[in-house]
Subunit: 236 residues, 4 copies
Amino acid sequence: MDELIEPATRRTPKGNTTREAIKLAAKRALAVDGFSNAKIADIMASVNRSPGAFYKYYPSKEALLHELLDEFRTRLKAEVNRPLNTRGDPLEHLKERLGAFWKIYRDDWPVATAAFQMSMADREFARAWHGVRQQGIRGMSSVIKLLQKEGYCAGLDSELIASALCSMLEYTGYNWTARAGDFPDRLIDDGAAIEVLTRLVLNGVRGGAAETTAASPADKEPGRDPARRRAKSERG
Amino acid sequence: MDELIEPATRRTPKGNTTREAIKLAAKRALAVDGFSNAKIADIMASVNRSPGAFYKYYPSKEALLHELLDEFRTRLKAEVNRPLNTRGDPLEHLKERLGAFWKIYRDDWPVATAAFQMSMADREFARAWHGVRQQGIRGMSSVIKLLQKEGYCAGLDSELIASALCSMLEYTGYNWTARAGDFPDRLIDDGAAIEVLTRLVLNGVRGGAAETTAASPADKEPGRDPARRRAKSERG
Amino acid sequence: MDELIEPATRRTPKGNTTREAIKLAAKRALAVDGFSNAKIADIMASVNRSPGAFYKYYPSKEALLHELLDEFRTRLKAEVNRPLNTRGDPLEHLKERLGAFWKIYRDDWPVATAAFQMSMADREFARAWHGVRQQGIRGMSSVIKLLQKEGYCAGLDSELIASALCSMLEYTGYNWTARAGDFPDRLIDDGAAIEVLTRLVLNGVRGGAAETTAASPADKEPGRDPARRRAKSERG
Amino acid sequence: MDELIEPATRRTPKGNTTREAIKLAAKRALAVDGFSNAKIADIMASVNRSPGAFYKYYPSKEALLHELLDEFRTRLKAEVNRPLNTRGDPLEHLKERLGAFWKIYRDDWPVATAAFQMSMADREFARAWHGVRQQGIRGMSSVIKLLQKEGYCAGLDSELIASALCSMLEYTGYNWTARAGDFPDRLIDDGAAIEVLTRLVLNGVRGGAAETTAASPADKEPGRDPARRRAKSERG
DNA sequence: TATGAATGAGAATTCATTCAT
DNA sequence: AATGAATGAATTCTCATTCAT
């Protein structure tokens, strides 16, 4: 299922090396130009191959992106399926997943971005990209649901929450990493990124049911937060 | 001042009508195909005009997007500059802004998405798009800073928070609205969207100073929180 | 014959004024851009008229150039037909004609240049332009023939001489006048231009028969020029 | 050094062949249609290639003309720099150069003509074309200056003379060669052309100082001019 | 098998000309 | 008479893909 594309050259080590080199070069090209602006000739040139050679490895430009996208999905899936090793604390689960997702999105935004673009014009990519998003959302919402069982963020649609959080992570992966992102003059390291994102999300998710309208400036004491109280009592 | 692009035709009512029709059609085309796949001929056909007529209004396809983007930026800016009418409660401010931003992003994701795509390949768009992002971030972070004065989300970089929240809003605007978004079979109305996003963000932002990494005042027993324990030990 | 084009609007003084204004503007546009790059819309704009109004005066862009060209030809023809008022000296005749041609070419190079360009791609213009060239050549060669009767430049084809001299005058008219000519930083006034051209041509034409090969370094004294001597003797 | 344009393909013999074929075909097309009317599709068709193939060799139609023009300039320059092998006789020098220029102009008028046309509308071509003209003028005026040291054509601006002579040669190259030139029914061979031009120029240049208009204040009596005297007496 | 020249289907763009107002 | 919006044919240029060598 995951390996839909099984092209001619896969066996020989040399072919495999070239194939991997092409994918690497393609990601770089994607990062710089986006999918439609990335040129096969350029990609192949940066691998010291002729443009024609590309078609030994992929039947089309789209197929290459499909393979990259599939690898991306596989990576996400592996994380989603990974047994969460923290004995039961859902907040810990969330934090773990968040960090893992962050790293995946941070590395693969060129592919994600390209797939996103293509998904708007191409039915096949729309389907594939949707699958990737779903992967992320499933992984996120499973943790959310655990939290909701504990009383966190009660009453909210876990799918929507998961979708919004994935959107944040994914797009932030781009905006804090890419040249053309929000902070061109600043290098945001993983530590800082993960800290901000984690605290934002942890709080966001942990919040109680009625907070939307209730919060008053006087309500400065977190300890009084009913959601947290509930969470505690449920755990205890 | 915001209208840097002053096209030839602005006078005659007929021309104005056509111009507006083109923009509307362009947004539709952008939503369906993305920028590079949107064809001028198609846009003009959907306005019952010949392809050549386009160039009475815009010198190029790019110029059209620049104008749409500028309008988007202007809309954001208007919201950012709007005096917040709730007598001082920063959480209320946040909620207001959030709802406003949501509506802007929900309506303008075709333009935002197109500009985002173009920003990767085109220097001029990179600059323009960055300006729009900054607009959003500025608006968001000004509210965040107010909150921080009140003691909320202490210690976090308000710019980073604002950037992440804008990313979430913007990309969610797409994912909950577009055909090819996360929930093709579901119509997510404004009420639901705003509620989820607002609660997520409100909580996220309201969280106490040191929740992720440190104990909250009420949380007397830090040792019991496994997440915090790990965070601590990793730092130490 | 000269007025092939007799369009609708010619009677009313207002129409005539506009018509003349169009021609003037067209010449300016021709000078700056050449024919194919000159835009009707621009020409009409510089006359404060709408593009559509052009077709009140001319059925096509080509027709305009044809009219300008025809006027040019008429001007040349008038000069060619003008009775030469210097009692008989053919050298004086040549000088007169030369000065007159210089002024015509200097003024009308935009039209000449445009017609020349068009003559390469368009059969109709080829014919018309050829007629203009012939006009010039005829005028020139008639004087040359007079000179040859007097023994000057014997043995040379007067048509070829005339053609070469017209080429020189015509193209020099451009190169010494136009912005993009040979001397952008220098204003060459009529006096200087006419002096150089006249002396060049007078000498060129006056020379004896066999000069081509004969000239020797020792032959520093023009009066002793063997070529001239030979020319004499050949005639004698 | 003269080859500023260094195209992508120069290596393979096949590519080189095509490249040269394109240039040849382009010159033909230029001769027939002029630059703006020459269509890339036609040029490529006459080389049995698809339109797209053109862009393997040149980034644009303009670039092609620039290369042709550069070759033209190089040819001129080679002639200008060629050591004149006739031991010192400036008239011989002039003759040599003239013949060489004639052949260059006769062969390259399609390029010259196209460049001339483009120079009016395009800044880059204006510059390039000006460079070519200067090349010719420099070559011509260097010989003129030699002659002036010997007392020929005294008092005249050698640059102007050179410019006028180049204009004559260049434009005559067209008018005596091209289909649409002055003598469509006549084939003017090199011998005849060179003879006429050479004698014209040699005489023109060799003429004495004050011949033009009898203009020197002291020279009240035109009859004192030896040349004129001769002319008169011959008539008488 | 690899190369890189060639293909060819499109897309953007231009502008003389038309025509409803 | 005039306007200026609209037309639409024509042309340049792009680039994924093919194929002869």
